[in-house]
């Protein structure tokens, strides 16, 4: 690795670990102190490494400096001494002098405890995602703002409100008990999947950032798999789902950032390694007797890794969408189910079902109808696409609809 890339790289991989360990040690009331110590550590690295050169083991160097800074902080700050030492002594009664434990086990434990803290239902989903990016993934406020297509102030406020809420509620940063894992893993997975979707479906033009968001979500999910207490079937299913989706990352956006529809994708660009990994996690997920929505969605995504249109493929997808909808309604699943129905039973029958859906404020609904009517009644197809165009908000969506309209006009 080039010298000038090393520090940003370490910041990405180590910042979150040290912050988690410090938060785990200090508790929820002192998150900012934890962040200050780690920022300060990286500042020292920036200053010293440029003068003295990069140390032999940069990570160990960072850990040692973080440990020393923590020690100094505890010695120096009288107020901190009063407030915090009591809490630390309480949680670690045997330690004479507080030593920051940066062993890999404690890093994993700390990160797990932090995931469950950040994904606490007392803060909103969007705050959980922002806080997760900031504390668990080491993303800066500006990057998060870019990912959410908003400005720094909004994210800054969102994160601070979330931290304040966690403090007011006195949320403990601790290892989740088996009982808590059962009750709260769903919320954690929702946040992880939201984080992934933020990257995958974001209309942000910053492809690198979008990929990073997806990679971070997958890393957090993998952290849950690494930990025996949270290595549940649904977690494996979610990771499988994210592997399948991200296998198409390169194929679904063209050079100018436009979305390429599944049917038009160059499948040689699909990432085979990710597809294989997805298959592995999907098979690991098939234990126990509970089928989560992630199992069903992963199954659907698995069938989409087969480009060829076969009855078997679409029949499987249809049944998976049936089960998914029975488990939990969503308009997008309803529309996709109808598309699968067209592939298995033909467009005429799918139109009958589509017209029952009652999604008249949804541009995807009209795009689906436009698609179903294409070749059956092109006049109607055009009308539907035009309605879809009126309802679509983003330029990306509008450009896809325009392409469909143009295709229809060529055929006429």
């Amino acid at each position: 690795m080039e010298d000038n890339q090393l520090l940003p790289h370490l910041f990405r991989t180590e910042y979150r670990k040290i912050v988690s360990v410090l938060c785990y040690l200090f508790g929820i009331n002192h998150i900012e102190i934890a962040e200050d110590i780690v920022s300060d550590t990286f500042l020292s690295a920036t200053e010293l490494w440029s003068i003295k050169g990069i140390p032999e083991n940069p990570t160990a160097w960072l850990y040692t400096v973080a440990k020393n800074k923590t020690k100094n902080y505890l010695k120096r700050d009288a107020l901190f001494e009063q407030k915090l030492s009591v809490e630390i002594k309480h949680s670690a009664p045997k330690a004479q002098e507080t030593e920051l434990d940066l062993s890999s086990k404690n890093i994993i434990d700390s990160q797990l405890a932090m995931i469950f803290t950040v994904c606490n239902p007392c803060i909103s989903n969007e705050s959980q995602v922002a806080l997760a990016l900031n504390l668990l993934c080491g993303f800066g406020i500006q990057e998060i703002a870019d990912g959410f297509l908003t400005n720094k102030e909004v994210i800054y406020k969102r994160i601070n409100r979330a931290k304040d809420k966690l403090k007011t509620e006195q949320i403990k940063i601790q290892q989740p008990s088996p009982n808590e894992i059962d009750n709260r893993l769903d919320t954690v997975l929702t946040t992880v999947y939201l984080l992934f979707s933020e990257g995958y479906y974001s209309t942000s033009q910053n492809t690198i950032l979008r990929k990073d968001l997806c990679a971070e979500a997958m890393r957090l999910c993998y952290l849950l798999i690494e930990n025996s207490g949270t290595n549940k079937p649904a977690v494996n299913a979610l990771l499988a789902l994210m592997c399948f989706h991200s296998s198409r990352f390169e194929a679904r956006i063209n050079e100018i950032g436009e979305t390429i529809l599944y049917e038009d994708q160059d499948e040689s660009l699909w990432n085979k390694e990710l597809i294989n990994r997805g298959e592995q996690y999907l098979s690991l997920s098939s234990t126990g007797n509970k089928i989560s929505k992630y199992h069903l969605e992963a199954g659907i995504a698995y069938w989409h890794t087969h480009k060829e249109d076969t009855i078997e493929k679409w029949e499987n997808i249809l049944q998976l969408y049936n089960s998914l909808l029975i488990l939990e309604y969503s308009s997008i699943a309803a529309l996709n189910r109808t598309f699968a129905l067209a592939k298995t039973k033909g467009k005429a029958e799918a139109i009958l079902e589509a017209e029952k859906l009652n999604l008249s404020d949804n541009h995807f609904y009209y795009s689906l109808l436009g698609n179903l009517y294409t070749g059956i009644d092109n006049e109607k197809a055009l009308e539907h696409f035009q309605k879809a165009f009126k309802l679509a908000n983003t330029t990306a969506d509008k450009s896809i609809i325009t392409k469909n309209i143009d295709k229809l006009k060529v055929e006429r």
């Binding site: 249809l318 049944q319 049936n322 089960s323 029975i326 309604y329 309803a334 079902e353 859906l357």
Partner: protein, 117 residues
């Protein structure tokens, strides 16, 4: 929107009308397609619940029998709750129920919300 219960009944005794294993297999797909279609319209009022087929019947004088099938031919095969505007819409949905293919029937009852609750 009102809530309706759909109760599926079928003769599960007369040998001649029982579906073959192959028919049973294909009926799963029919049921899933029908249920998926209702779910796609967001008209399931409650999560689906499967019910064991055996059952017990308790009568006067602590008389308990295994299932109601000895005396009546029609047994409840299952029930589900949907949310639709009125009986007409509920009837339209029930017309697609695969149990009708096996000579069964669907009873529809609207939930009554009592005043003051």
């Amino acid at each position: 929107m009102e809530e309706f219960v759909l109760i599926f009944r079928r003769d599960s005794i007369t040998k001649e009308t029982q579906p073959s294993p192959e028919e049973m297999q294909s009926s799963i797909k029919l049921w899933q397609d029908w249920l998926g279609g209702i779910a796609a319209q967001d008209k399931l009022a409650r999560p689906l619940q499967r019910w064991d087929g055996e059952g017990r019947v308790v009568k006067q004088n602590n008389n308990v029998t295994n299932g109601p099938y000895v005396e009546i031919k029609e047994a409840i095969g299952g029930l589900m709750m949907i949310k639709v505007a009125n009986y007409d819409e509920a009837v339209e949905i029930a017309k697609g129920c695969p149990i009708l293919l096996w000579g069964g029937n669907v009873e529809i009852r609207m939930a009554v919300i009592s005043e003051g609750h």
